[in-house]
C-alpha cells in the first residue's frame, strides 16, 4: 500500500523528485520553480541550448510531478469511457490517447493522456488534481482508482536523436514502437515502460519506472545519450516547443472548470480546439455529453482557440486581439518567436464569430519593453493551422537516425 505522508512534509514544501540528484548536479544557475509541489528546473544551464536539444538532438525532462491516477478493474473501460470525451472502446491495450474530460455542463476539467496497459488497467496523466471527481464519477462501476503520482518516476526523452539514444541504451525492439504505443522493455536499469508520446511535437518517448529505479534509468539514458548530444532541460525550453507543437496547457490556455471562479471562464472542448476529441456518437454515455450535444447542435460555442501568425518578431505575450484594430475580440494565451519555423507564433482565445467565421482583419496590440520604455505597436495577425511545426520524423516508424 501507499506510504503515509510524513508529518514533516512542510519543511521543504517543494519536494525532490527521484531524479533530483542528477538534475541538481547539472544545474548551474539554480533556476527552479514549483510544479505541483515539486522542485522542477526552469532552466538547467542555458535555455536556448536546451530548446535546440529538443529540435536538434535529444532532450531529457523530468515529468515525475505530472499527476497520475491508476484506474483498474472489470469496469475500467466502461468507466474511462464514461469519464472522458473520446471513445475508449477504440483504445486498444498497449496504446495511449490524448483526451479531455468535462463536468456535467460540458466544461473542460482538464486534458491529459489515457494509457491503456491491459483490458482492465488504465492510467490517466494530467496537470491538475481530480481525485474527488474521479471517485464520484466511479459510483456504480466496479473499478478502483488510486492517485499514484509518487509511485511512478517519469522522464520525457524528446528530439530527433531520441530513438538512437534508446536503441543504444538497449531498448531492444524500440524501432517498432509506433506513435502512441506503450511497451515494457527489459533494460540494464530494470523493466521500463515506454510510450511514444510527448509534449514537443517531435520524435520522442516517455519512460516510466518505480522511483527506486529512477537514477539507474537516468544514468542509462545519459550514458547512451552522450554520442547523441543528449541535454537535460528545464520547463522554459519545453514551453516553447509545446507552443510550436500547438499543445494547450491547463491554467495557461484554459481554466479548469472546477477552479474557475467566474462562470464565463469555463470552456467546452469545442471552445479550446479540442472539439475533435468529442465522440458524441460513441455508444456509451459520458460526462457532459448532453450539454456538449446541445452546444454542438445549436452551434452555441462562445469562444474558439486559434493559432496566429503575427507580423514582426516581437512575441505577443498577454496581448489583446482586435478586429479592424478597434473591437476587442480575444486575447493571446501563449506567444513566442519560433526559432524552428521562423515565425512569430501565438495561441489566442477568441470570442466567436471572431476567429471562426470572421477571420480577416485581426490585429494584436503589442507592448515591447525596450530599455525601460514601452514601444506599442498594432500588428497584423493571421489565423493559421495548428501545429505550427509537425516534422515527419515525429511519426515515422521505424524512426530515422538523425
Amino acid at each position: 500500500m501507499r506510504r503515509a505522508l510524513p508529518r514533516e512534509h512542510f519543511e521543504k514544501p517543494l519536494w525532490h523528485t527521484p531524479f533530483h540528484p542528477r538534475i541538481a548536479a547539472l544545474m548551474t544557475h539554480e533556476q527552479w520553480y514549483g510544479w505541483g509541489g515539486y522542485l522542477s528546473p526552469q532552466v538547467i544551464r542555458d535555455e536556448e541550448m536546451e530548446y535546440f536539444a529538443i529540435r536538434n538532438a535529444a532532450s531529457l525532462f523530468d515529468v515525475s510531478p505530472m499527476v497520475k491516477y491508476r484506474i483498474a478493474g472489470p469496469d475500467a473501460e466502461a468507466y474511462c469511457d464514461r469519464l472522458t470525451v473520446r471513445d475508449v472502446s477504440k483504445l486498444k491495450p498497449g496504446r495511449v490517447h490524448y483526451t479531455a474530460w468535462c463536468d456535467d455542463e460540458g466544461k473542460v476539467l482538464d486534458d491529459g493522456t489515457l494509457f491503456r496497459f491491459s483490458p482492465t488497467e488504465f492510467r490517466l496523466c494530467c496537470q491538475e488534481r481530480h481525485l474527488p471527481w474521479l471517485l464520484d464519477s466511479a459510483i456504480g462501476y466496479d473499478v478502483e482508482i488510486a492517485e499514484v503520482t509518487e509511485d511512478i518516476a517519469a522522464l520525457s526523452l524528446q528530439g530527433p536523436t531520441s530513438y538512437a539514444v534508446l536503441r543504444d541504451a538497449g531498448f531492444a525492439g524500440i524501432e517498432t514502437l509506433k506513435p502512441f504505443d506503450i511497451r515494457a522493455f527489459e533494460t540494464a536499469a530494470g523493466p521500463v515502460t515506454v510510450s511514444r508520446t510527448g509534449f514537443t511535437g517531435d520524435l520522442g518517448y516517455e519512460l516510466f519506472v518505480p522511483p527506486d529505479q529512477a537514477l539507474a534509468l537516468w544514468d542509462l539514458l545519459w550514458t547512451a545519450g552522450q554520442l547523441h548530444r543528449i541535454v537535460a532541460i528545464g520547463f522554459a525550453a519545453l514551453d516553447l516547443a509545446r507552443l510550436e507543437a500547438g499543445f494547450i496547457m491547463a491554467g495557461s490556455d484554459f481554466v479548469p472548470a472546477e477552479h474557475a471562479i467566474r462562470a464565463d471562464r469555463r470552456r467546452s472542448p469545442y471552445e479550446i480546439g479540442l472539439g475533435w476529441l468529442v465522440a458524441l456518437d460513441k455508444p456509451r454515455h459520458f460526462n457532459g455529453k448532453r450539454a456538449l450535444a446541445a452546444e454542438k447542435a445549436k452551434n452555441a460555442f462562445r469562444h474558439c482557440l486559434v493559432a496566429l501568425d503575427i507580423d514582426g518578431n516581437v512575441p505577443a505575450e498577454h496581448a489583446l486581439v482586435y478586429h479592424r484594430g478597434k473591437r476587442e475580440v480575444g486575447h493571446i494565451t501563449a506567444a513566442a518567436w519560433s526559432p524552428t519555423v521562423k515565425r512569430n507564433i501565438a495561441l489566442a482565445s477568441m470570442t466567436r464569430p471572431y476567429g471562426d467565421t470572421v477571420v480577416n482583419d485581426l490585429w494584436v496590440e503589442i507592448y515591447a519593453l525596450r530599455e525601460l520604455v514601452y514601444s506599442k505597436s498594432l500588428v497584423r495577425a493571421r489565423i493559421v493551422e495548428r501545429p505550427f511545426f509537425n516534422p515527419k520524423r515525429r511519426s515515422a516508424t521505424p524512426p530515422g537516425v538523425f
Partner: protein
Amino acid sequence: MTPPPSSAGKTWDAIVVGAGHNGLVNACYLARAGLDVLVVERNDWVGGAATSRSLYPGFLYSNCSYVCSLLRPEIMRDLELPKHGLQVVPYEGGVILKQDGGYLGTFRDHDAHRREIGRHSLRDAEAYDRYSAEVIRQCRFIRPFLLRTPPDPTSLKPRDVQELLYLGRKFYDLTETEMADTVRFWTMSIAEFLDEFFETDVVKAGFCISGIIGTALGPLSPGTAYVLLHHYMGDVDGAIGAWGFARGGMGAISESLASSFRASGGTVRTGASVDKVLVENGRATGVVLDGGEEIRGRLVVSNLDVKRTFLKLLEEPQLPADFVKKVKNFKIRGSSGKVNIALDGLPDFPALPPSAPFLRGDMHFTDSVERMEGAYDDWKAGRWSADPFLDMMIPTTIDPTMAPPGKHFMSCFVQYCPPKVEGHDWTDAERDGFAKTVVDQIAEYSPNFKDLILHMEVRTPREIERETGLTEGNIFQGELTFDQLLFNRPVPGYAQYRAPIGGLYMCGSATHPGGGVMGAPGRNAAAEVLRDLKKPAKDMSDAYPVL
C-alpha cells in the same frame, strides 16, 4: 475620562453615540464632509469590541475581537488609517489538535496545505481547491453589497428600484447552476455544505469553525453556511478570506480611527454614558448623559445595537408599536465567551512538530463536527460547554508589541457560552467554572500551560455586555441569519440606517452588512446621513470593483 469640552450650550451638527469602530468610522466620514461632530462614549476608552487593554503590567489584551480581515480597505484608505498608526499583519499557520494525539495543520503554501490534508485523506486533499473555488464564488456574489445601502423592496423611489434591480441583476448574472448553489448556500447548514466536499471529520471540523463563530447556532443548523461566508468575505491586502493581526491589538484600529477623526476636527468625549436620546416634535435633537447633562445636536447617530438604542435610549411611546415589537424580536442571543491570558512563556504542544508555523495562527481542540454540535447542545440547555470549542490565538507569536519579549498574550474565544446560566444571571463562581473548562482543555494538550499563566481575564456574555454594551454579549449586535440580513437588518423597512424618528440614525453592526470589525455599517450610515443633508460625501471613495 475626557473633561467635557468647553462648548456647553452649543449645538453639534451630529452626535455619534458610542465610539465603537463603526461609530468612529461614521464620525470620520461626517467630519470629513464638514460637519462638526461629537462622539460620546460610555467607557474611558474608545473602540467598543475593538480595543486593546492593558490589564496586566507590560501586556496589551485584544480583549474582545482579536483578528482582522473584514475591515474594508476602502475605509482604511479613505480615512488614512495607516498614517494614524494602523498596520495589519497576516498570520501564518493554524492547527486543530486531535483527541487521539494527531493534528491537522494549516499552511499558506498551497501544496503543503494539500499534503497536510492528504495525511488524513487524499480525497479531501484534492477536494480543497474545489471547495475554495466554491466559497470564493459565493464571496464574489456578496462582496459588492457590503458598501451599499440595501434597497427597500416596498419602495418605489427610483433609488430603491435601482438598487433592487442591481441585486436582481447580480443574481440574474449567475448561471442556472450558480443560482441554485447560491440559494442553497444561503440557507443550508455548514455541516451539510462541507459534506458535499469532504469525508474526514477533522477536515470538516476545521472548515466548520467560521460557520459558527459568534452565532447561537450549531454546525448542523440551517443558515450557518452563510455565517462562514461572513468570515470569508474579508481580505488582507487582497488575499480573500485571509486574516491578520492589527499590530498593537484590535484597539489599534479604533485608535487610528479616533486619531483620524480628531485630525479632521472631530471631538471624542469618553467616560460619558448616554442615558436618553432627546426627542422633540418627533425629531432627535440631542442626548442626555447619565447625570442629566444635555448635549444638543442637529442629528444623532447611534452605534449601539438596536435593542439598546430603541429600548433603552428611547421611550416606547416615541416609536411605532410595530417597530418596537420587531426590535424586541430581533434575534440577538449571546453565545460567546472569551478568556484572555498573560503567559510567562510560550506553551509547549508536544504533539506538534516544533518547526511548524501552527502557533502563529488559530488553534483549536475540537476535532469533529459532532463535538462542536455537542458544545452547542450545552448552550441550548443554558450551560457553558463541558467540552468547549475554542478559537485560540497567541498574537504575540507575530506581534512584538503586545507583551514583553519572551512573554505571550493568549486570546481564547469560546463559542458557546450562554447569556444566562440555566435561566439565572451568571455568578462569579460560575464564571470561574466556565474558565476552568477552557484552561483544562488547553492543558490537556500542553503540559506546561497552567504553570505559565500570569493573569487571566474571563469574560462570559455578562462581562462582555457590561463593558461593551453588546446586548447579551452578542458579538455581531444581532444574529447573522438570513432573516436578519440585507433589507431585513435590523428590521424590515428600516434597513437604510434611518430610525423611525427624524434625525436619528443607526450605524452599528446591527445594521447591514452586520458584525465584525468591518466598518461598513458606519460608512454606509454616513452616506445616508449626508444624502439627507444633501452634502457631498467627501473622501468616500467608491467601493472597489469586484473584477
